[in-house]
């Protein structure tokens, strides 16, 4: 086995915390402010890791393993993606279900940890997070269905690797639709603006942030790092769909991926600067619209 998938994954893990910084910086620049430095999350993580963990007496071990499960599931999910454009670290037929399931498990662990604290705010955030996930997951599977129908392969490694470049010749409209739906999903899954606002300071309006209110120190660092990696993973899904890298050698493919991730982060920043956050009852509509786009792609492929 070649070392390039490991190199790609390592680079992704190293650069992931810069992506939220780039998005925030873009948003600040577009709204006439300077904003936090791009490397802010690295500094935050370094600060949190040095701190002590405080556990509330009402919590149980469910709370303590939440952060670890959340990060490790995201890391394993990352091993399923062909980040160098050819091979994944762990690829097998049907691994797309494992990808969605692992991300779901990570979210489940965090939601349980939030509920375990007994705080009503965290319970509310947990309920919202799960509501959004219930709408996001069908859309994700519809996007994968489009990729499957276009390439004829059932593993992420092949769906996003070599066969995708050939599929762009014949199935470009449906692939573009599923790419757009994946970008909408990225916004929802990583808690960015039209769905959730990472900059909010009011517990009532938080979704992702409120679940982790009771986490502290290294645990919080794990969660923050995990959500940055999740953003990078969804970003690389979007980049892989829009820019098929199967024909490129590994090194340029990795370079294209990293450039693409920066572009996705800037796009997220632009969306955050230009859109207001949606009301909670409109969020489902946003995600159903993503599903409708992907479903339309499926119909075009089935024709």
């Amino acid at each position: 086995m070649t070392p390039t998938p490991f190199i790609a994954f390592g680079l992704l893990l190293a650069l992931a915390p810069a992506l939220p910084g780039i998005a925030t910086r873009t948003k600040s620049a577009l709204t006439g402010r300077r904003g936090a430095p791009v490397m802010q999350l690295y500094a935050d993580l370094a600060k949190l890791v040095r701190k002590q963990v405080v556990y509330s007496r009402t919590t149980t071990p469910v709370f303590q393993i939440g952060a670890v499960v959340a990060l490790s599931t995201v890391l394993v999910a990352g091993c399923l993606l062909p980040l160098d454009g050819h091979a994944a670290i762990l690829g097998f037929t049907g691994d797309l279900v494992a990808f969605a399931g692992l991300l779901g498990l990570g979210r489940f662990a965090l939601v349980l940890a939030g509920l375990d604290t007994g705080s009503s705010f965290e319970g509310m955030g947990a309920s919202r997070e799960v509501t959004i996930a219930a709408f996001a997951e069908p859309a994700l599977f519809l996007c994968f269905t489009v990729l499957f129908l276009a390439t004829g392969h059932l593993s992420l490694e092949s769906m996003l690797g070599g066969p995708l470049a050939k599929a762009w010749v014949s199935a470009s409209p449906s692939l573009a639709l599923s790419g757009a739906a994946l970008f909408m999903l990225t916004l929802a899954e990583t808690g960015r603006v039209p769905v959730d606002d990472p900059a909010t300071h009011l517990e009532l309006t938080m979704i992702h942030e409120v679940i982790v209110l009771d986490h502290s120190g290294p645990d919080l660092a794990l969660i923050h790092y995990g959500s940055a990696v999740k953003l990078a993973l969804f970003g690389s899904l979007v980049v892989s769909v829009f820019v098929p890298r199967g024909a490129l050698p590994a090194a340029p493919a990795i370079a294209v991926l990293l450039t693409g991730l920066v572009v996705v982060a800037v796009a997220i920043g632009v969306v955050e600067a230009t859109m207001a956050r949606l009301r909670m009852n409109r969020v489902s509509q946003f995600l159903v619209a993503a599903s409708a786009l992907a479903a339309f792609g499926v119909i075009l492929e089935l024709r």
């Binding site: 409209p173 509509q285 479903a295 339309f296 119909i299 024709r303």
Partner: protein, 213 residues
């Protein structure tokens, strides 16, 4: 790359979804304007041998559907000062789902219809889907203006269907239809204006109540 006319037809479907999913009246009007523009470019893309017929049809469509009618409708919402569709009979999420079902159905039906070969396999299904979406908007929204938009979308679907037969339909018939639409929308605009003046609202469900309140 797929041919240009297929992309235009996909754009027509996307504008249908846009109308189904948005609450703002100005956004629905913008969506119909975009749809009109796409429809105007369609005859030129579908029939690469441009003739006076197709060019006239395209320009006429763009002029009326993408410029005159949207401007007229925007003026109407300015005067009636309504911004949003508040309580449609079928919610926005549900109507988006229904729209997706409509698209699936029309692709299924179009394959079974005994029709002469069209230039693009997408013309007939897109036409059917647009007609169904138009009907959906026309029947499930309460504001008279959104209903006008639904009527326009319905007619756009019929127009797309006619495009598959454009060589066999005389130019005059097409122009007559365009003129009819224009007059129809004009009359509806006046009706909307009168409803607004009488009831202080363009909610057409109010018309079923006879008593003064």
């Amino acid at each position: 790359m797929p041919p240009l006319h297929d992309l235009l037809l996909l754009g027509v479907i996307l504008t249908n979804f846009w109308v189904l999913g948005t609450t703002r009246l100005s956004a629905t009007i913008r969506a119909t304007a975009v749809q009109g523009l796409l429809l105007g470019m369609l005859p030129l893309a579908l029939h690469p041998a441009w003739s006076l017929h197709t060019i006239g049809l395209g320009l006429g469509t763009i002029l009326i559907k993408a410029m005159v009618i949207p401007m007229f409708l925007s003026r109407a919402i300015r005067e009636a000062s309504v911004r949003r569709e508040i309580e449609p009979l079928i919610g926005f999420t549900a109507s988006l789902c229904l729209g997706a079902v409509a698209v699936a159905l029309s692709f299924g039906i179009a394959q079974r219809l005994p029709l002469p070969e069209a230039n693009s396999g997408l013309v007939v299904p897109v036409a059917l889907a647009t007609v169904i979406v138009g009907l959906l908007v026309l029947t499930t929204r309460n504001k008279a203006l959104t209903q006008v938009v639904g009527y326009l979308i319905l007619e756009n679907g019929i127009y797309v269907f006619g495009l598959s037969q454009v060589e066999r339909v005389p130019f005059l018939v097409e122009l007559g239809v365009l003129l009819d639409i224009f007059v129809g929308v004009f009359i509806m605009g006046i009706v909307v204006f009168h409803i607004n003046r009488e009831f202080d609202s363009i909610d057409s469900t109010r018309l079923t109540a006879l008593r003064d309140e």
